[in-house]
Amino acid sequence: MAAIPAKIRVYAKQLVELSLVDGCVSAERVAGVLASLEKNPPLKFTLVLQAYRKLIATEIAKGEARVEHAGPVGADALAAIAASLGKRYGRPVTTVSSSNPALLAGLRVRIGDDIYESSVASQLGALAAAS
């Protein structure tokens, strides 16, 4: 896949900023932006749409925390994690949980490009790497 030029990335970023409401991606705003682009297509329209889609996906991922766990996790724990992350990133964060027995015990939280982990598997991995 060809690299997107810097000018198009900057333009797509401006479009993404127009698509946010209180730091969250708004479906109405996204629809409006797309309609505007459709009506007045810029040069290299396809590349602009690709960059816009990539940035919107990143923004959505920033508001969604994927929590992997081994063993039971209470809803209050997930809520606490969502609140903590929302406070840290300055936007509302929702959680999506999934079971991962490879962790043995503990949690792994992935939000955007960031990963937070506190699990037995990670500690054993660190122990193996340190030896």
Partner: protein, 195 residues
């Protein structure tokens, strides 16, 4: 020659008789010669004959013999002189030869000593270089053994750790109960939310 001297003697005798015939008194010299039977003409003839014989002998006998003797004397003297010179030259040559021989012996001894010293130096250098090479090889071998030992220990440590971790994972996967995992998850939640 006798024929030449005989008339001379006869002339002399005739003169004496002529003097005596004239009646002069004989002198003392005449008397002495008569008493001793000395005849002057004969004596003169003998003197002349002797002189002639002596001259002839000296001229044709003694002189060549003396010349031959002188020549031989010269030859002998030359030979002796040549022998002396040769002897001196031989002695000089012997002395020179002895000096050259001595010098050659000294030079040969010096060369032998230098060669021996050079050989000893070379042997010492070679021995030192060989010792240095051997020490280098020993050091490298020791370093290689040490590195190999360290690598083996590190590999063993890594393998043991991997086995311990794998075993621990298997044991924990079997032994951990849901209650244990829930408890650990609560602790993890607190840890993640406190960051």
């Amino acid at each position: 020659m006798t024929s030449f001297l005989l008339p001379l003697a006869q002339i002399t005798e005739h003169a004496v008789e002529t003097v005596a015939a004239h009646g002069e008194a004989p002198s003392a010299l005449t008397q002495i010669t008569e008493n001793f039977g000395i005849s002057v003409p004969l004596i003169l003839a003998q003197v002349v004959s002797f002189s002639i014989v002596a001259f002839v002998l000296w001229r044709f006998a003694f002189k060549p013999v003396l010349a031959t003797l002188d020549e031989r004397q010269h030859k002998i003297a030359d030979g002796l002189k040549y022998a002396e010179e040769m002897k001196a030259k031989l002695e000089a040559a012997q002395q020179q030869t002895a000096a050259q021989l001595k010098s050659a012996q000294v030079e040969a001894s010096k060369i032998i000593e230098e060669a021996r010293k050079a050989a000893k130096d070379l042997a010492d250098r070679e021995a030192a270089a060989a010792t240095e090479r051997a020490n280098g090889l020993i050091t490298k071998a020791q370093q290689a053994i040490q590195l190999e030992h360290q690598k083996m220990l590190a590999d063993a440590r890594t393998e043991i750790a991997r086995l311990v971790v794998a075993t621990t994972e298997r044991v924990l996967a079997k032994r951990l109960t849901d209650a244990d995992r829930a408890s650990y998850n609560e602790t993890a939640t607190r840890e993640l939310t406190s960051v």
